[in-house]
């Protein structure tokens, strides 16, 4: 099957791809920041208590 793709279609696809890339990058940052906050506020202080630091 052959699909004709107009320059406008192409522009839209590029825009969509950029949005997906940005969303994925934002998700990675969100998980990273969340994990760091959880560790510094919860896991690491708890370990300090357990090992008597």
């Amino acid at each position: 099957m052959t699909m004709a793709m107009t320059p406008e279609d192409e522009k839209r696809r590029h825009g969509r791809n950029r949005a997906i890339a940005l969303a994925l990058a934002a998700f990675v940052v969100l998980i990273f920041v969340g994990s760091v906050v959880k560790m510094t506020n919860g896991v690491i202080p708890q370990l300090d208590v357990e090992i008597g630091r």
Partner: protein, 307 residues
């Protein structure tokens, strides 16, 4: 796999068929999302206890994305009636920009991602309630109630009332009673808000076969019920004060805005059948009312009313 060729740019080509990023954003119902996000934020702010700002931001993102996911799945299921109704005919699926199965996949992915992230980074109570909210909106409201009963938005309105409770749960890790006062306020607000819209969009709903109150019971009954539910909403607007949520500013605001809401609802009642001037104003004012009331909840020192 399709071969892709490029059409000449001579101005004779048809309208674009590729979905843009904006079309996918439209699937998330951004205007509904803004109200959900705001009430969720207030739930976070008024909850007792502390939450790290990054965690608060993550919780809000999860609430927003979860709400958006519900919207996308709703658009997949309601694609047939959206195409018939003027108000929704410009949505991405009826316009042919996005295939229904793409909207479903997008919605399911975002729903799973938002609930999982909320569980992983915030807590189980907030994640569980977010999952239940998505389930309630998609399955209970969209798939079950919307096309079957005139009470569709009365019961289904609960889905829109959960976000402040989710915000609260993100801070406390529980679903304590005070949070449900905010739930009750939005729950009682939804019928007059939605029926005001349904009055002037009655033809749309009738054409699509959706049993909204004005279609099934007529305009006069709808206008009476708008007043009735507005009175219940006014009563619900006092309940946060019994749980130490809201101060003097909220009390004064709730009274002033509530009286205005009631006055407009009476004008809707007195309006002649077939005229929707005040119904349109009530719809607009109802959005302002909820934003304003929730904005006032965290202001000042909380008052605790006794019975």
């Amino acid at each position: 796999m399709s071969d892709i060729t490029y059409a000449s740019n001579d101005g004779s080509t048809a309208a674009p068929r590729e979905a843009s990023a904006g079309d996918y954003i439209a699937l998330l119902k951004p205007r509904v999302m803004s109200l959900v996000l705001f009430t969720g934020l207030i739930g976070l702010v008024v909850a007792p206890g502390a939450i790290h700002p990054a965690m608060a931001a993550i919780a809000l993102i999860c609430i927003a994305v979860g709400a958006g996911a519900s919207g996308a799945i709703n658009m997949w299921f309601d694609a047939d009636i959206d195409a018939v109704m003027e108000r929704t005919s410009k949505r991405p699926i009826p316009r042919g920009r996005i295939e229904p199965h793409e909207a479903l996949t997008f919605g399911l992915f975002l729903a799973a991602a938002s609930v999982f992230t909320m569980f992983l980074l915030v807590n189980l109570a907030a994640a569980g309630l977010l999952a239940f909210t998505i389930f309630f909106y998609v399955v209970i409201y969209t798939m079950w109630l919307k096309r079957r009963t005139v009470q569709n938005i009365v019961i289904g309105g609960a889905a829109g009332a959960f976000p402040p409770v989710i915000g609260w749960a993100a801070v406390t890790g529980g679903l304590e009673l005070p949070a449900w006062a905010m739930f009750l306020l939005i729950f009682m607000w939804t019928p007059p808000h939605f029926w005001a819209l349904a009055l002037f969009r009655r033809g749309d709903y009738a054409a699509a076969g959706v049993p909204m109150l004005p279609v099934v019971k007529g305009e006069a009954s709808t206008r009476r019920q708008i007043v009735g539910y507005t009175v219940l909403m006014l009563a619900a607007s006092v309940t946060p004060l019994f749980f130490g949520i809201g101060g003097l500013a909220y009390m004064i605001g709730a009274a002033a805005l509530g009286i205005t809401f009631l006055a407009i609802s009476f004008l809707v009642l007195r309006e002649q059948e077939g005229t929707y001037c005040w119904a349109g104003r009530l719809f607009g004012f109802s959005i302002f009312y909820l934003f304003a009331l929730f904005a006032l909840l965290p202001v000042g020192t909380p008052i605790v009313l006794g019975l």
